[in-house]
């Protein structure tokens, strides 16, 4: 099973879709998870996930706002989607009955 940060990264990349690349994923993680994400943690995790065939990367186009430098684009593979779904389902399943999950459920209702 994937780790927590791996799940966060896969989810951020999935949310960004075709616009998923280093800086965008980092901003998405910092915004949604409310935690700092270093470039080192980001790229080493991307490499690990790519080695596990959970995502694929390639060099994208260069833009002026990046000083004419190319982006490292990221896309989830079907394996990556399955791994993220399995992680999510496991978290939901193990959280059933936990006080914070019950409170959250009541808030939603």
């Amino acid at each position: 099973m994937i780790g927590e940060f791996e799940y966060v990264l896969l989810t951020a990349a999935a949310a960004l879709g075709d616009e998923a690349y280093g800086a965008a994923i980092r901003e998405e993680i910092e915004r949604s998870a409310g935690r700092r994400c270093s470039i080192g943690a980001l790229y080493t995790t991307i490499d690990r996930l790519e080695a596990k065939n959970l995502l694929t990367t390639w060099m994208g186009e260069a833009t002026a706002e990046r000083g004419g430098r190319a982006k490292r684009m990221v896309r989830l593979t079907p394996h990556g989607v399955r791994a993220a779904r399995d992680f999510y389902n496991t978290i939901l399943s193990v959280s059933r009955g936990a006080a914070w999950a019950v409170e959250r459920g009541q808030e939603t209702i």
Binding site: Y21, G22, A23, R26, E27, S38, I39, G40, A41, Y43, T44, D47, R48, E50, T57, M59, A62, T63, E65, R66, G67, R69, A70, K71, R72
Partner: protein, 240 residues
């Protein structure tokens, strides 16, 4: 260009061209401070280096090959230099006949073994973990520096300790360049080494250093039978 920006670009050279492009672009896009950018790049580089050491390969290359091989081959280098000096003094300087006695046969056998052990050991060191090869080479110099400082044989130059470095450098260069050796060549080295170490099998305690030095040759035989890794497995953004 400011000092911090120059430093940022200099530090970014630690990364591969593809990764440098992506990381510098990200820092530019996020309007990151240059000093923070330097810290981020160093962090990425250190993480990449640490990741390499999670595998068994750099450990074997460094502590299973570099250190023990340099330690044992230094001893053999001195022994060969001493035997060679005695043979030259006895047969050329003070004698007239160049007899092929058991002393010369042993000397030749040891020279071949030193060459084959150094070549195969360094070849495997270069192939087993090429990304950490600089550390392996640096570690192989540690016993050399220690012994060079304590060398006390008057008649020999202390550089005799480093005789093994010549075939080792040759083997390392080949290992880094070709990654694999042909089965025929690997079998030749393994058979040669094993045949030349047979006389030492009866010597108590000699089999440990012999096998410590001989396993790379048999490792080369085993790996030469395997399928070559596909070029598609190479990731251009990982450190070289």
């Amino acid at each position: 260009m400011s000092l911090s920006r120059t430093m940022l670009h200099a530090i970014a050279r630690l990364l591969t061209p593809y990764e440098r492009e992506a990381v510098l672009g990200d820092l530019e896009e996020l309007h990151s401070n240059n000093w923070r950018g330097i810290a981020e790049i160093v962090d990425l580089y250190v993480r990449r280096r640490i990741v390499l050491w999670k595998s068994w390969r750099p450990w074997v290359a460094s502590f299973g090959l570099a250190v023990p091989l340099s330690l044992t081959l230094m001893g053999l280098s001195v022994s060969i230099a001493k035997a060679g000096q005695q043979w030259i003094n006895g047969n050329i300087l003070h004698g007239s006949n160049l007899a092929l006695g058991p002393g010369l046969a042993l000397l030749l056998s040891n020279i071949i073994l030193l060459t084959a052990w150094s070549f195969t050991g360094a070849f495997v060191m270069g192939t087993i973990s090429r990304r950490t090869v600089r550390i392996s080479v640096a570690l192989s110099f540690v016993p050399c520096a220690f012994c060079l400082a304590r060398f006390r044989i008057e008649s020999l130059s202390r550089f005799c300790l480093l005789l093994f470095m010549i075939p080792a450098a040759w083997g390392l260069m080949y290992g880094l360049r070709f990654a694999r050796i042909r089965l025929r060549s690997a079998l030749f080295f393994a058979a040669l080494i094993t045949a030349l170490t047979i006389p030492a099998w009866s010597t108590k305690g000699a089999w440990i250093p012999n096998w410590a030095l001989s396993w790379p040759a048999w490792y080369l035989v085993a790996t030469s039978l395997r399928k070559a890794p596909s070029l598609e497995e190479h990731h251009p953004w990982q450190i070289s």
